[in-house]
Amino acid sequence: MLWEMKLIKIREEADILKARNAAKVMAMDMGFGLVDQTRIATAVSELARNVFTYAGEGEVQIQEDCKPQRGIKVTFIDRGPGIEDVDLALTDGFSTGRSMGKGLPGAKRLMDSLEIETQPGKGTTVTVEKWLSD
C-alpha cells in the first residue's frame, strides 16, 4: 500500500492538467486498467475544473485507500461559494455557471462513490473513490 499523498494546489488552469495527470499516474501504479485510468482522470478533470471555475482556487488530494477495499481516493477542497442545493447539483443538466453543468453527475457515474460536504458561502469538499476489482 502506498502511503504517499499527492497534493496539487489549484491556482490556474494548468493545475487541472497537473491534477488529472497525477491521478492517472497513481491509478496506473495501483494497477487500474486503461479504461479505469481514463475514468479516474476524466472525473478528476471535471471536479478540478469545478474548483477552478467556481471557487477560483483550492486543492486536490490524491491517495491510496484500503477501506472498504483497495482503491484510489481523490478529495477536492475549496472555499468557494458552496452548493445551495446538492440534490439539484447531482441532477444532469444543472448549472449556474457558464458551463453546461457542474460535472458532478458525470463524475459520480465514472467513479464508484462520490460524497459532497458543502456549506453555502463557506466552501465545498468533494470526495470520490474507485476501488480495484479483484
Binding site: 488552469e13 494548468a14 492538467l17 488529472r20 492517472k24 486503461l34 479504461v35 485510468q37 481514463t38 475514468r39 482522470a41 476524466t42 478533470s45 471535471e46 475544473r49 444532469d92 458551463s99 453546461m100 453543468g101 460535472g103 453527475p105 458525470g106 457515474r109 465514472l110
Partner: protein
C-alpha cells in the same frame, strides 16, 4: 518540450484537417474554434476532419468545445467529423453523459474523409435532378416534341 501556441489547420481539397495533440486550455480552445471557422470561410471548406487519436482523455470541457465548434461550422455550411476517438475515451464520454449532439464521428481519418465526400456527392445530384425535371416540364409546356 517547446510547443507552439496554435494548432495547425491543414487544407486538403475541400476539407480541413486538424490534429489535436495537446491539452486544450480555455484560450487554446477558443483560439482553435476561431481559427477553424476563419479557415472555413477563407477556403470555403465543406468539411473539417478533427483527429483526436492522440487524446487519451476527453472531458466535458473538450467535448463541449468540439460540439460547439461543429454547430458553428454548420452555420458556415461545413460538416465536422471527429475521427480517431480512442476506445477508453468513447466509453468515458458515454458514461459522463456528454451528448456530442450532431457531431459525427468516424473511426479514422480515411473513413471520415469518405463520409464527408459522400455527403458532398449527395448534395449535388438533387439539384441536377430538380433542374432536369423543371427543364422537362418547361419543354412540355412549350409543346415541343
Amino acid at each position: 518540450m517547446l510547443q507552439n501556441a496554435s494548432i495547425p489547420i491543414l487544407k486538403l481539397k475541400e476539407f480541413l484537417i486538424v490534429s489535436i495533440q495537446t491539452d486544450l486550455h480555455d484560450r487554446m480552445a477558443e483560439q482553435l474554434q476561431y481559427d477553424i471557422l476563419h479557415r472555413i470561410s477563407e477556403t470555403n471548406a465543406k468539411g473539417v476532419l478533427i483527429d483526436i487519436s492522440a487524446l487519451e482523455m476527453v472531458d466535458s470541457f473538450i467535448g463541449r468545445t468540439l460540439a460547439d465548434t461543429a454547430k458553428m461550422a454548420a452555420t458556415l455550411d461545413a460538416d465536422i467529423v471527429i475521427v480517431g476517438m480512442q476506445p477508453a475515451v468513447a466509453i468515458t464520454l458515454v458514461e459522463l453523459g456528454l451528448s456530442m449532439g450532431e457531431v459525427r464521428t468516424a473511426i479514422n481519418l480515411d473513413e471520415g474523409y469518405e463520409l464527408l465526400k459522400e455527403e458532398l456527392v449527395e448534395e449535388t445530384p438533387q439539384t441536377d435532378e430538380a433542374e432536369s425535371v423543371a427543364a422537362e416540364a418547361e419543354e412540355d409546356d412549350n409543346g415541343s416534341v
